[in-house]
Subunit: 72 residues, 6 copies
Amino acid sequence: MPYVKIQITREGATRDQKAQLIRGATDLLVQVLDKDPATTFVVIEEVETDHWGIAGETVAVLRERAKRGTGP
Amino acid sequence: MPYVKIQITREGATRDQKAQLIRGATDLLVQVLDKDPATTFVVIEEVETDHWGIAGETVAVLRERAKRGTGP
Amino acid sequence: MPYVKIQITREGATRDQKAQLIRGATDLLVQVLDKDPATTFVVIEEVETDHWGIAGETVAVLRERAKRGTGP
Amino acid sequence: MPYVKIQITREGATRDQKAQLIRGATDLLVQVLDKDPATTFVVIEEVETDHWGIAGETVAVLRERAKRGTGP
Amino acid sequence: MPYVKIQITREGATRDQKAQLIRGATDLLVQVLDKDPATTFVVIEEVETDHWGIAGETVAVLRERAKRGTGP
Amino acid sequence: MPYVKIQITREGATRDQKAQLIRGATDLLVQVLDKDPATTFVVIEEVETDHWGIAGETVAVLRERAKRGTGP
């Protein structure tokens, strides 16, 4: 009866890619722990890039900086 | 001081139904564990049907298949 | 296909009370949104009182202060 | 390697305020536990006021009542 | 910068199986979305069987019933 | 009415350090968003090092390797 949450930044993942994540996470639980897929939930949460921080900065800022080609 | 998260697929729950979920979950904590409602939080999260998977498929696909009347 | 998480402080809830929470939360989703109980998950998380804070203090400290009968 | 989730009601927090939350939460983990900011994630989740309940009522209703100046 | 949470019942998953879950979930994010493994977190949460409910009953009760070979 | 979850590996954080995290996170919400501390929850979750993965490996393995002084 597993529940898997996959949290990613909202940066263009397609419907097909999300379906692959759901399929893949379910298969993983079935293969490793012999879980029943019928009661395996996978939930994807997309988070805006200005709502996700790493190293004290938003991903939005990190992406802008990377585009401009300035460090770090 | 309970915190309750209710995660459902986004499929047309009304504002009134959400208020009923919040009222009902709060009452449950009060009745069963004598919790103080003033510090009982209930948060509802609606998840798109192509972000929720069960049995390795998205709910969006399951709903489309059910509409077409084809198995499983 | 709802998923409900109930987070409470670990302060002596019995196995029977937890079963009541699970039953009650499931019934709530069935009654309000006509969800299928067979795919309704309820997960209870008990949190140590020194891991839960409110108003900037741990519940452990608040409980100790309440026992001593001192404010606020 | 901390992961911090900050859940707030969606009531007008600005992009700059969110950046401050991310910066502040990261600094807190660095100062208190000497964590590496490069592997410290902070995720902000904004929740609609009719999806957040306290004392059995939605924040949306509480805000409307406060505006009208009627108790409690 | 994905964050994956895998919630399972505590029913004897070994340290090696948990390592496989972590490896597999990370590979999935790399393969499907080209994410950087260095900033991919996977967190496993084991939940006691009397803290997890499905169909209104705890997994603990369901397991006991299955052992006794009685329905439903 | 914020809810903050701080998830860290279980590696010896003291009760005092946890109280500092709770105090600091509450202050942050008060200072940045003028939130009421009386309805600000902070919950700390400690995760075993073999339940937390980064770059496809458990923190337990990374810590052991670091102790032995072998790369990467």
